[in-house]
Amino acid sequence: MLFWKRQFPLFIAFVMGVVFIFQYYIPHPYSEGMLTEVSEWLRIISGFAIILGIASLSHLHYKKIQRKEPGWGYSYVVYLSMIITVVVGLWSGGKEEGSGLGWIYNYTLVPLQGTMFSILAFFVASAAYRAFRAKTKEATVLLIAGTIVMFGRVPLGEYLVSNIGGLAEWILNVPNTAARRAILIGISLGVIATSLKIIFGIERGYLGGKE
C-alpha cells in the first residue's frame, strides 16, 4: 500500500520528466503525437486544478462562517455573488455578448478588479515619499536611475529636456538589460536544478501530506 502512496507517484514524475526531456530532441511523428496528446490532457487537468482552487477558497469561507470569525457575514456575500454569477452564466450559455453574464462581467468584475489594482497608485506615492531616501550610495544610484526613467518616459519630460528620452531608453537597453539578463540566467539555472530534483524524487513538496 505504501508503494502506491509514496513510490508510485515518484515513479510517475520520473517517467514523465525523462520522457519529455528526450521528446524535445526526437522529431519522429510518434514522439510529436505523444506531445500533442499529453498537452491536450494537461489542458483538461488544468481545468480541474482551477476547480480545486475555487473549492479551497469556498472551504476557507465556510470555515469562517462556521467559527463565526470576525467579518464572517461578508463570507455570505462571497457565496451569494458566486452563485448568482454561476446561475446567470449558465442561463446565458456561457456567452458574454449582450447577455446577463456580459453585464455582470463588464459592470462588476471589470470595475472591481481594475479599481483594486489602481488603488496601488496611491500607496506607491505614499511609500515613495516615506521610504525612498538617498541614505547610501546604492540607494542614490537607484533614485537617480528611477528619476531619469520617470522623467524621460513622459511627453512633458521629453519636451522640457530634449535628450532625456534617449537617456531613459539607454538605461533600459544597456545596464537594465545586463542586470535582468544575469537574473534571467540565474533563475533559469535554478529552474533546471529544481526540475531535475523533482524528476529524481529529491524534491517532493508537490506531493503534500506526511506519508
Binding site: Y24, A182, S195
Partner: protein
C-alpha cells in the same frame, strides 16, 4: 437602460473600493468580498464551457476521442485532495502534471534563456572593416552589457566568499542592479499611475448627464455614508469606554 444601470453599479463599486483610502470600512469590505465571489463564479462558468464542454465532452461524444476519459480521471483524482482517507490518490495527478512540466521546461529553458541569452551577450566588442578599427557607441554598449552580466552573476554567486577581485566584481554588479531596479521602480510608478488614470477616466465618463451624473451623486452618498459610519463607530466606542 442596461448601460445606465451598469454605470451606476460600476461607479458605486469603484467608489466603495476607493473609500479604503480614507480607512478600512464596510463599503470596502462589501466590494472586496463581492469581487472574490464574482471572480469565482465567472471562473466556474468559463471552466465549465471552455474545458468540460468544449475540450472534454464534445470531443469524446462527437469526435469519438474516448481516451480523454483518462485525462478526466486524472483531473477527478486531483479533487480527492479534499477527502482525507483517499487524499493520497491526488498525488498521482500532481506527479503527472509536475513531471510533465519539469521535463518539458528543461530543454526549452536551456535553449531560450541560457544559450540564446549568452549568445546575445557574446557579441563582437569592436569591429574591423574598410575604415579600419572601429569602437563606437554600439561597441561600448556591448562591452557594458558583457561587464554587467558577468559582474551581476558574480554578485549572485554565494558559494564562494566575496573577497579581493570577486568582491570588486560583485560591487560593480550591485550598481548595475541598482540602475535596473531604479528603472523598474520608474516603470512600476508608470504602470500604477496608468491604472489609476484608466479608472478616473471611466469615473469622469460616468459623471456626465448621459449617465445621470452617477459619479457625483454616488460620491456624495458614499461620503455621507462614511461620515455616518464614523459617527456610529465613535458612539459605540464611547459606550464601551464609559463605566
Amino acid at each position: 437602460m442596461e448601460g445606465f444601470l451598469g454605470a451606476w453599479v460600476a461607479v458605486g463599486l469603484t467608489l466603495f473600493i476607493y473609500s479604503f483610502l480614507y480607512k478600512d470600512n464596510p463599503f470596502f469590505k462589501l466590494a472586496e468580498h463581492l469581487y472574490v465571489g464574482v471572480s469565482m463564479g465567472y471562473t466556474i462558468v468559463r471552466i465549465y464551457y471552455d474545458t468540460m464542454v468544449k475540450s472534454l465532452y464534445q470531443p469524446m461524444v462527437s469526435e469519438g476521442k474516448w481516451w480523454l476519459v483518462i485525462a478526466a480521471l486524472l483531473g477527478l483524482l486531483m479533487l480527492t485532495r479534499f477527502i482525507p482517507k483517499i487524499t493520497w490518490l491526488s498525488r498521482w495527478s500532481f506527479a503527472f502534471v509536475v513531471g510533465f512540466g519539469s521535463g518539458v521546461v528543461i530543454p526549452r529553458i536551456i535553449s531560450s534563456y541560457i544559450l540564446q541569452q549568452v549568445q546575445g551577450t557574446l557579441l563582437p566588442l569592436a569591429s574591423v572593416g574598410e575604415g579600419g578599427f572601429r569602437f563606437g557607441l554600439a561597441q561600448l554598449n556591448t562591452v557594458l552589457i558583457l561587464v554587467g552580466v558577468v559582474t551581476v552573476l558574480f554578485y549572485f554567486f554565494f558559494s564562494i566568499e566575496h573577497r579581493g577581485a570577486i568582491r570588486g566584481a560583485a560591487r560593480v554588479g550591485i550598481y548595475f542592479l541598482m540602475i535596473s531596479f531604479g528603472a523598474g521602480f520608474g516603470y512600476t510608478v508608470m504602470a500604477r499611475m496608468s491604472l489609476l488614470i484608466g479608472r478616473i477616466d471611466d469615473l469622469l465618463l460616468y459623471s456626465s448627464s448621459d449617465y445621470g451624473y452617477a459619479t457625483i451623486v454616488l460620491s456624495i452618498l458614499i461620503i455621507l455614508g462614511l461620515l455616518y459610519w464614523e459617527r456610529s463607530s465613535r458612539k459605540a466606542v464611547k459606550k464601551v469606554d464609559m463605566p
